[in-house]
Symmetry: C2
Subunit: 255 residues, 2 copies
Amino acid sequence: MAERRGRPVGATGPVVRRTLHLLDAFSPERTALSLSELARKAGLPTSTAYRMLGDLVAWGALERGEDGAYRVGLRLWELAALAPRGLGLRERALPTMEDLSAVTRENVQLAIREGTEAVFVERIAGTGAVPVRTRVGGRFAMTATGVGLVLLAHAPSAVQDDVLGEEIPRFTDLTVTDPAALRRMLAETRACGYSVSDRQVTDDALSVAAPVHDHRGEVVAAVSLVVRHGSATPSSLSALVRAGGRAISRALAEP
Amino acid sequence: MAERRGRPVGATGPVVRRTLHLLDAFSPERTALSLSELARKAGLPTSTAYRMLGDLVAWGALERGEDGAYRVGLRLWELAALAPRGLGLRERALPTMEDLSAVTRENVQLAIREGTEAVFVERIAGTGAVPVRTRVGGRFAMTATGVGLVLLAHAPSAVQDDVLGEEIPRFTDLTVTDPAALRRMLAETRACGYSVSDRQVTDDALSVAAPVHDHRGEVVAAVSLVVRHGSATPSSLSALVRAGGRAISRALAEP
């Protein structure tokens, strides 16, 4: 039908989706991909993939190295810097995170909820601080991390039901995987204004997190301190991290 | 031709390019755009733009707010986090930049060259430090900034000719806009291993920058300290920033 008019109107959808599907092939484990790998992963003939990749490279969404491999390009990164929930949030939060880092010399993390997972938007790693499993731009289960518990505690009930209805991933012997126990932790998080993840992600890390609110009072992010287990008590960290959450909320409300 | 086969093969190019062109409408000044604004900027019928935007929203490249406006989405930001020249570089550079920030309490900046401009990949703003004009993900003329002079000094001759052949933008009375004077500054930057931008961007800022090399010895980025004019001499800052550039180069070379 559409083809008869000489302009393939009905074809934009598949092409747009196939283009985006090509980009889906990139992951933290695979940041450089060859033409044939990309074509295979996207289920496209090599010639079609080559043409689409050429357009993506011309625009700067991808870059092609001397090795022939495709990588995510700087133009995409520049565009992504305009995402309000990405770098926009991070820019507002960074001064406060640096304050927390300077006074504690520990890990400071900032995350938001994307669907049923937490996405880490910023991380300042303290020199000599306990190693953490997170990566900026990376995702993590909400049930285990301090920031995740805050985000889940303030998520819509349907999201909580989804997360707690699935199997809860276990990372250590202390990871809480019982839905009822997790619901109690979420209620406590809401009541106290902070969450505690004690060795639930790694065997030696304690994380305490607090919510970040937007100008309407909605929880849009969570900030945490992650320290070595035994080096501080949750209550001693909670005041600092709650004050940090409030400072970031205030920074977000500024014009 | 292509349409007759029932698969609009020749049409992928225009559609891919039109999709990317839609994304071009976003800028630091315009981070939220309505359907009609996007259609107009991309030169598309509203119905076509609406369909393409629907696909972009479904994938997460864009997000549509309660106000009906489109914004750059978190999925794009997650993908962009895989760009080796964006967050990848930044992750490797951040510990060193935090060291520089901690010992100086000044502004620390990291930039790369994209074509004929510098793109800021990271910035740590010192508390009480001199205000700077840069934004993470933002672009700036290479001729005026400390990091820009380093990047231009090590750019291919053709790029130098392009930049110096165009009109050089002026920001202050002290901005060097004479191509011959700039060529001397670039030669000095290469010889000394650092650049100096003294009140060339704002009336009160002094910037000293040094190169960051990849494992092959190519200059891939520049790091700078930006302080209030009069608070330190270029030579006192140069050792610190050169050591920082070397530390980041070493971090880049690690597997």
